[in-house]
């Protein structure tokens, strides 16, 4: 059973990725290419539906599908690839996505957690072996910030507002 950090709690992940063991009606996360290839099928999936983005995917192409999506998973292949931070802000601020926004992949570590949450991620899925308690602890490393940010992190003070 995979565990993730969701809204600051460590919980069992109810979602399955396409390719994992899957029963009809299970919440499933499919790659964007799969959703594109068989849109009708996935729109009529009986369970909750999520999509998984790669760093080079253009999130703005997702606008038409967002009403059907309960989750968007954004992949961080390594800690240095920061495209997912912009994808997250675009999803939250431009496309008004209100579902679960998940950061996943090898780039999701405790030292990125605070910034990820500030960009609007409300769930973090780490690679096996990463200490989720440490990731949770890292969400409160800072209680001040200069920039406006997502409500996933509570701040005591902030300088600039949107």
């Amino acid at each position: 059973m995979r565990h993730i950090l969701r809204r600051r709690e460590i919980v069992a992940d109810p979602w399955r990725y396409l390719g994992e063991e899957l029963a009809t009606g299970d919440p499933v996360i499919v790659p964007l290419s799969e959703l594109r290839a068989d849109r009708e099928h996935w729109w009529s999936w009986t369970g909750r539906l999520g999509v998984r983005l790669k760093p080079a995917d253009d999130v703005r192409d997702l606008a038409a599908d967002l009403p059907r999506l309960d989750l968007v998973a954004v992949e961080f292949p390594n800690p240095g690839d920061g495209r997912g931070y912009s994808q997250a802000r675009l999803l939250r601020e431009r496309l008004r996505f209100r579902g679960e926004l998940r950061a996943m992949g090898n780039g999701v570590r405790q030292d990125q957690a605070f910034l990820l949450a500030r960009c609007g991620f409300d769930s973090l899925e780490t690679c096996p072996g990463v200490d989720l308690e440490a990731v949770r602890g890292a969400l409160t490393r800072y209680d001040v910030a200069y920039q406006p940010g997502a409500p996933q992190v509570e701040l005591r003070r902030q300088r600039f507002f949107a």
């Binding site: 690839d81 931070y85 802000r89 030292d111 490393r141 600039f160």
Partner: protein, 551 residues
């Protein structure tokens, strides 16, 4: 200068705690070197040839005397009693121990300093004109805007993992003393028709492997839109900048591949679409920050000639190492870090303490670092100049060569840097020895030499009137020489004159080049103007004439 409030202080303190934990995890084996590297780089810590190197931020080059004293104390306690001022107005310590770095950062935090984002693929220290606030040709003081940008960029949630480093400079004068055209973003302050503040925005300048001059993406950006527009540029870069090749990852490459028109269209569209979610720059906040940069409480004085009747060496120092001030009765004084025999930009703890004390006595307690690797006392009453000269001379900081050939910029090179091909320090000293006659230097007039030990161009060689680049040839150090570069106003990239020369030939080759200038210059013509007028050929012919064996 800007003073931290509770928020600023908490943020820096929390960054120290975070970095202390990161160092602890690394030393405990929980973070591998590969995992630790991007974390330490974002806090200014390199692992160099001999030891770690810590780059401490001096935002837009402004220091209080108490801060310079703290730097002196840190250099003495944790290093070997000196530091190195860089072309980005920062200070580098070359010998700290990794385990001590968290304590160094904690000491810096106590005087409102830090090393946040002085390296790594993020927004770096914002730089400005070292004559900000005192230059007669200034439209507006750039430092409040630098400070606002510093805050906006610090631990930015979206832009901390960019494709590559990102440098921003702000200039407030007609003469661009901040080299803004060779920055990823160069902001030039402007006044609108109603006197309102705005910027001309240039993007895509930079040195390094493929040097480029910034292009105007927006002629006029009103001040309240500053953050929104920066975010639009950074977002386009973050999403579309190349990440597959470190040498093609700067924003200049993206701009070139899209073309200026398309790049501009992307940025403008993103700006319009993102405005409602971008941080607002409200007038009250701008005023709060501007309030920290008000003019000093100057005395009412009249201009005088402080050199009247005094010795020749003071006159030379006055002429070369001081500059005109906006306020009558005052001068700006360069503290030369280019004494012959010394390492360009290096300063001992004792020298730092001496300058801090001097600044408190005669310059309102402030010191500036310049991108030419000198310091500046910006507000010295003319009547105190003689005393200041005597004290600086006693400290070894009155070499009257500012703006001349030996006031050269040089990176630390092979002696410290693990990237370098070449021992720039030894070459700098070779040049100092060759050109040790002040009268000869003065006859040559204004010449900027900029020297880098490798392609990364930390010494800005592309924009030197004379640029020197160290290259490796079969394990030997050779030096490529270029002419005609410039970074202030009419920005231009220098052109390589021919084959590189052996290390021991550098100063002699330079001498043949400047002799060519002496022979061919017109009355009062500066070196750079002669190069522009007659082209490279006469210099090339003479530079190599004596040494057909140059490879």
């Amino acid at each position: 200068m800007y003073r931290y409030d509770e928020l600023d202080q908490a943020l820096v303190d929390q960054r120290v705690a975070e970095f202390r934990d990161q160092v602890r995890r690394h030393l405990a084996g929980e973070l591998s070197e590969d995992e630790f590297r991007p974390l330490r780089l974002r806090n200014g810590l390199y692992i160099q040839r001999h030891a770690p190197m810590l780059r401490i931020a001096i935002p837009y080059g402004l220091l209080g005397a108490h801060q310079l004293r703290t730097l002196a104390a840190i250099a003495r306690r944790y290093d070997r009693g000196y530091g190195h001022f860089t072309t980005r107005q920062n200070l580098q310590l070359n010998w700290p121990a990794l385990a001590d770095v968290p304590d160094i950062l904690a000491e810096l935090a106590r005087v409102q300093m830090h090393a946040i984002q002085t390296s790594g693929n993020c927004v770096r220290n914002v730089t400005a004109d070292h004559l900000a606030g005192i230059a007669p040709d200034e439209i507006d003081d750039p430092r409040p805007y630098c400070e606002l940008i510093r805050q906006w960029a610090t631990l930015h949630p979206e832009f901390t993992y960019l494709p590559r480093k990102f440098k921003i400079a702000v200039t407030g004068s007609a003469e661009d003393r901040a080299a803004s055209e060779v920055h990823d973003i160069g902001l030039q302050l402007r006044r609108g028709a109603q006197g309102e503040t705005g910027f001309t925005v240039r993007v895509g300048g930079g040195l390094g492997r493929a040097p480029a001059i910034g292009q105007v993406v927006r002629e006029w950006l009103p001040l309240p839109e500053l953050f929104a527009y920066l975010e639009a540029i950074l977002r386009i870069y973050n999403l579309y900048g190349r990440r597959d090749n470190i040498h093609k990852a700067r924003i200049k490459v993206l701009l070139k591949s899209l073309g200026l028109e398309r790049f501009r269209a992307e940025v403008e569209a993103e700006w319009q679409a993102a405005r409602s979610a971008a941080p607002q720059l409200i007038p009250a906040e701008v005023e709060r920050v501007r309030g920290f940069f008000r003019p000093q409480p100057y005395e009412t004085l009249e201009d005088c000639d402080p050199t009247a009747g005094s010795e020749v060496s003071f006159k030379a120092w006055y002429r070369y190492n001081t500059r005109v001030h906006r306020v009558p009765g005052y001068r700006a004084v360069f503290v030369s870090l280019k004494a012959h025999g010394a390492v360009p930009g290096d300063m001992t703890s004792a020298q730092m303490e001496g300058v801090a004390a001097l600044a408190e006595r005669v310059s309102f307690g402030f010191i500036r670092s310049t991108h030419t690797q000198n310091l500046l006392l910006a507000d010295v009453p003319q009547r105190a100049l003689y005393e200041v000269w005597r004290e600086l001379a006693a400290l070894g900081l009155a070499m009257p060569n500012v703006g001349t050939l030996t006031d050269m910029i040089a990176c630390p090179g092979l002696d410290f840097c693990s990237l370098a091909n070449a021992g720039t320090i030894a070459v700098a000293q070779q040049i100092q020895r060759r050109f040790d006659d002040l009268d000869y230097l003065y006859d040559l007039g204004e010449i900027e030499i900029k020297m880098s030990g490798c392609m990364n161009a930390c010494g800005h060689h592309h924009v030197g009137h004379i640029g020197i680049l160290g290259v490796d040839k079969h394990g030997e150090e050779w030096y490529q020489i270029s002419l005609g570069g410039s970074a202030n106003g009419s920005t231009a990239l220098g052109e390589v004159i021919g084959p590189s020369v052996a290390q021991h030939e550098v100063a002699a080759t330079l001498e043949r080049i400047v002799e060519t200038y002496r022979d061919l210059r017109e009355d009062g013509e500066r070196f750079i103007d002669t190069v522009r007028r007659i082209g490279l050929t006469p210099f090339r012919e003479r530079a190599y004439a004596a040494h057909p064996a140059a490879a």
